[in-house]
């Protein structure tokens, strides 16, 4: 049972039937899924949501599928942690971490969007799926395609982290490394998608795919006791997640699931790839593309598809955009791990690093609720920490050696 009315161009509002298409043929604007919210509000109550299993399909009426999901049924409903130890270090009162580093099955928020995209691709009748990826999406498409019995073609920059490359290959996909950065991979994939009749999750399936991100926001609201956080910080690569978090908060207000959306939304980037935060800080409507140069490869998109809309969300919500250096990213990864026991990937370091900076700047108040969106797992980007967390102490299996070591360590 679907509540989808169709697709609509976000710019010129031209309407389209549901189909594997992603841009308006008149103005090239992005196509977006339009729902019948009146009908949804009649069936989707808090009681109904709470009666369902703890995964993102608790909100399936707000997902663009015609049938029950067939891929990633267990995705989502990741923990929202009250991070008091980290809060103390940062000097704030109420801090939470939405931890998608433990999402199912590939440990990043991309499992949300991919479960929607591949379920939809199956509804459309595709037998082959694909994507352009900075790593996490590659892992998720490969895994979910394998479990769905579909063939997959995955395109990545050739120099990604080992964990992300192996974590894709293991699923027996067709992995193609492109000699170039993500923006070049993306351009090539747009041309491939036009030529080959495949479901490219973030190209021709993109309007459906992107909707999966909304579930992260629905869950945060539910986990906070049916209210929006006062401040939420999201990492930005292509800028899609942050726009969908905002859309989800507004939908919950429309549906009466919350009284009012009072969230301010902040976007985080690495300084070495900061087209969106640079535009926000300059007060500019348009962003300038950049050539990425940062250890945070998962966010290294110099020409972000949703950059324009992401900047607008920050402006409209009263939030802000900020970026941090590679050193600050590493410090933040270590801080998150040592205070909360959460090993986030580099993008998590970007999010926390930016939160710290915004608190120091006074842009984030110290006595209001703040949620940090952690979107990927640190086990996938271990290289950046090599030699930066110390070394194990190696001894022989002799009690005397340990006694000596212990004494030395205590000194």
């Amino acid at each position: 049972m679907s509540f989808v009315k169709g697709l609509q161009c976000r710019e010129c509002k031209h309407g389209y039937e549901v189909a594997p298409i992603h841009v308006c043929e008149f103005c090239f604007g992005p196509l977006e899924v339009v729902y019948d919210y009146e009908a949804i509000s009649k069936v989707l109550t808090k009681e109904k949501i709470l009666s369902r299993p703890p995964n993102m399909w608790r909100y399936q009426e707000l997902m663009p599928l015609d049938q029950e999901p067939t891929v990633g049924r267990e995705v989502g409903y990741t923990p929202l942690i009250r991070a008091d130890r980290l809060a103390k270090v940062l000097g704030v009162k109420e801090l939470y971490i939405k931890n998608d580093a433990v999402n199912y099955p590939t440990l990043s928020f991309k499992d949300r969007v991919v479960s929607v995209a591949i379920s939809k691709a199956k509804e459309f009748g595709f037998k082959t799926v694909g994507c352009a990826s900075t790593g996490n999406l590659a892992n998720s498409v490969a895994a979910n395609a394998a479990s769905a019995g579909l063939e997959s073609f995955i395109f990545i920059p050739h120099d990604l982290e080992q964990g992300k490359v192996l974590g894709t290959l293991v699923f027996k996909t067709n992995l193609i490394g492109i000699k170039g950065n993500y923006d070049e991979v993306n351009r090539l994939c747009s041309e491939i998608a036009a030529k080959y009749q495949w479901a490219f999750v973030n190209i021709n399936i993109r309007p459906f795919y992107a909707e999966g991100s909304k579930a992260m926001a629905y869950e945060i609201v539910e986990q906070l006791g049916w209210k929006t956080p006062q401040h939420i910080i999201s990492p930005m690569a292509g800028g899609s997640l942050i726009t969908k978090l905002w859309k989800a908060f507004k939908e919950m207000e429309t549906l009466g699931l919350i009284k009012k959306n009072t969230a301010r939304v902040y976007g985080a980037q690495a300084t070495g790839c900061s087209p969106i935060t640079t535009a926000v800080k300059k007060g500019s409507e348009l962003f300038e593309p950049q050539r990425p140069n940062t250890i945070c490869k998962s966010l290294a998109i110099g020409n972000p598809a949703d950059g324009f809309y992401a900047a607008r969300v920050m402006r409209d919500s009263g939030g802000w955009g900020e970026d941090v250096s590679d050193e600050e990213i590493i410090e933040a990864m270590k801080l998150l791990a040592s205070t909360e026991g959460i090993f986030a990937e580099t993008a998590g370091g970007v999010t926390l690093g930016v939160a710290k900076k915004l608190i120091e700047q006074g842009r984030l108040p110290k006595d209001e609720s703040i949620v940090l969106c952690i979107t990927g797992n640190g086990l996938k980007t271990q290289e950046v920490l090599l030699g930066k967390c110390g070394e194990p102490q190696i001894i022989e299996a002799k009690i005397r050696q340990f006694d000596e070591l212990y004494e030395k360590m205590g000194a």
Binding site: E11, H22, V23, E25, F26, C27, F28, G29, P30, A132, Y182, D183, E184, V185, N186, R187, C189, S190, E191, A193, A194, N202, I203, R206, A237, G238, G239, S240, L286, E288, P289, R291, I301, N303, P304, A305, D306, F308
Partner: protein, 90 residues
């Protein structure tokens, strides 16, 4: 003559061709000549303020023209100009 690669939504304007040979020495000139040959391109590629549309990217030999001289970017004989929808990826 430059080779111009046409994205799917615009191929209808050019007798369903995916690639065309168009004369001109800059992006701006090639696009103007494209319009002269196949009317209709101009209004799809430019907004009502006469700016290239926000959601289309232009590449000369795989290089985004915003990293070069924008519309003034020079095109030499046999250079390729790709017109690619910007909304993709991420």
């Amino acid at each position: 003559m430059a080779k111009v690669r046409i994205p799917t939504p615009l191929q209808k304007l050019a007798e369903n061709q995916a690639e065309l040979e168009v004369s001109g020495t800059s992006v701006k000139e090639v696009l103007a000549n494209l319009e002269a040959k196949y009317p209709g391109f101009q209004e799809r590629l430019y907004d009502d303020k006469g700016q290239l549309r926000r959601f289309i990217n232009f590449y000369v030999n795989e290089e985004d023209i915003r990293f070069a001289d924008g519309e003034a970017t020079i095109l030499k004989e046999d250079d390729e100009l790709s017109i690619v929808p910007a909304i993709a990826g991420g």
